[in-house]
Subunit: 259 residues, 2 copies
């Protein structure tokens, strides 16, 4: 659009809000209608012109641990969405949006015939939990929290990233490997052995120093912490400082937080 | 200040930054110098004109469970701060600021001779953890998260407040009573029996419905969730909506978040 008149006509061409997607339960049993629920066409009919389509989210794919399991969740997610859309179509109700997605299923999806949208949340950044369940490698995690060493005690270091900077997310507690409140990396992204942030106070994080592999760091030294769950950690910050292979900030990306 | 010249002279009258407080360890063993550490006057001397005083924080008071224990922590906090300030004074170094404080010790403090500042964090709002350790009553919690019922399943309700709205703080896990991710209240602040947010997904919370005391709520009904740790929960929001005995918002208080 190039001027106000164009803007107005572009807005006028948009479908009138609100538009509603009906949530389909593809197996997580958290929310939504089953794809074969008799109420499905009734709900769509009752939405009238607001009915825009269906969406589902295989959140239970986070319980998967192998590519085979992930493919199974991905197929079930796609199948549930398409089945729901087909039932609606048979009732004369066109789902213009058929939306699926979770990060594990996005990465293990097969053909997506009948799907119009794949929503993938942490997909673009990755995190320790996703690495633990095999959706990507540990080296693929693209978000870290920069922190400084602010204290030393026998056997441990104190850093200025605590729960407010890292979040209190403990999702890797149930993963094959428990990373505490995050994995400790140097500025180049290389790990310090098995070091993790073991405790997170509100403003302080505690890194335990393994006696067999002491971390020789001093007050003022900088570290990166790879997060358990990037969505929760990133929500604690109002922007990303983007770097590309070194420590030069090449862009600052604002975030949309809140509701 | 009324104009630029006044502003400039007001700024000129401020103490020159940076001003530094030396942290004193009053027993938590997290950070800071012991009050009798030989390095204390050396550090203050080295700070030169930046030296403004000392501060301590009895974070280990969160481990207390009785008024007697809390008073003990409060006395130790005050004693450590005053002892450090007196040692510095004896070396000719005047601590203009002698700062103590944690919420439990603020509430159980005795005479504060020699102290110039008491920092109390969650003191003004309270939370479930503070109620569990006896610093105030459950009815004194002044911050809740307003949420809506968005789903029903046998034995549980789904609400639109998950980890992003409540935080993933689980501090009451170690308290006498575990409130999950928060205690469920009605709009008037009255509890629904023992109901808590048992699971917190990113955007969804799950309230388990006790078979003996079913919660008769419907989709769209509103609830309040009292937080485990108000500091962490409030940090997820950019403002407070202030009410005073009913549901009329009488003020909106912005928050300072981030670093």
């Amino acid at each position: 659009v190039t001027d106000d008149a164009d803007t107005a006509s572009a807005i006028a061409a948009l479908p009138a809000p609100p538009r509603a997607l009906i949530e389909i339960d593809c197996g997580q049993n958290r929310c939504g209608l089953a794809p074969d629920d008799p109420a499905l066409p009734v709900v769509a009919q009752n939405l009238g012109p607001a009915f825009a389509g269906i969406m589902t989210h295989a959140g239970h794919s986070y319980g998967g641990r192998t590519p085979q399991e992930m493919r199974g969740y991905a197929e079930a997610e796609c199948r549930a969405a398409v089945q729901a859309a087909e039932r609606l179509a048979a009732a004369g109700l066109q789902a213009r949006i058929v939306s699926i997605g979770s990060t594990p299923t996005a990465l293990h999806a097969g053909p997506l015939n009948g799907v119009t949208e794949l929503r993938a949340g942490v997909y673009m950044f990755g995190d320790l939990f996703q690495a633990e369940i095999g959706t990507h490698g540990l080296d693929d995690i693209a978000v870290t929290v920069l922190t400084s060493v602010i204290g030393r005690r026998p056997g441990r270091l104190l850093v200025d990233a605590g729960g407010l900077a890292l979040s209190k997310d403990r999702s890797t507690e149930a993963a094959p490997r428990d990373y505490g409140y995050g994995r400790v990396l140097d500025l180049a992204g290389q790990p310090f052995g098995d070091a993790v942030v073991r405790r997170a106070y509100q403003e302080h994080g505690v890194i335990e120093r393994d006696a067999d592999a002491p971390i020789e760091l001093h007050i003022g030294d900088k570290l990166r912490i790879a997060p358990n769950h990037t969505c929760m950690t990133a929500a604690a910050h109002d922007r990303y400082h983007v770097i590309d292979g070194d420590d030069v900030v090449v862009a600052v990306w604002p975030r949309v937080n809140g509701w």
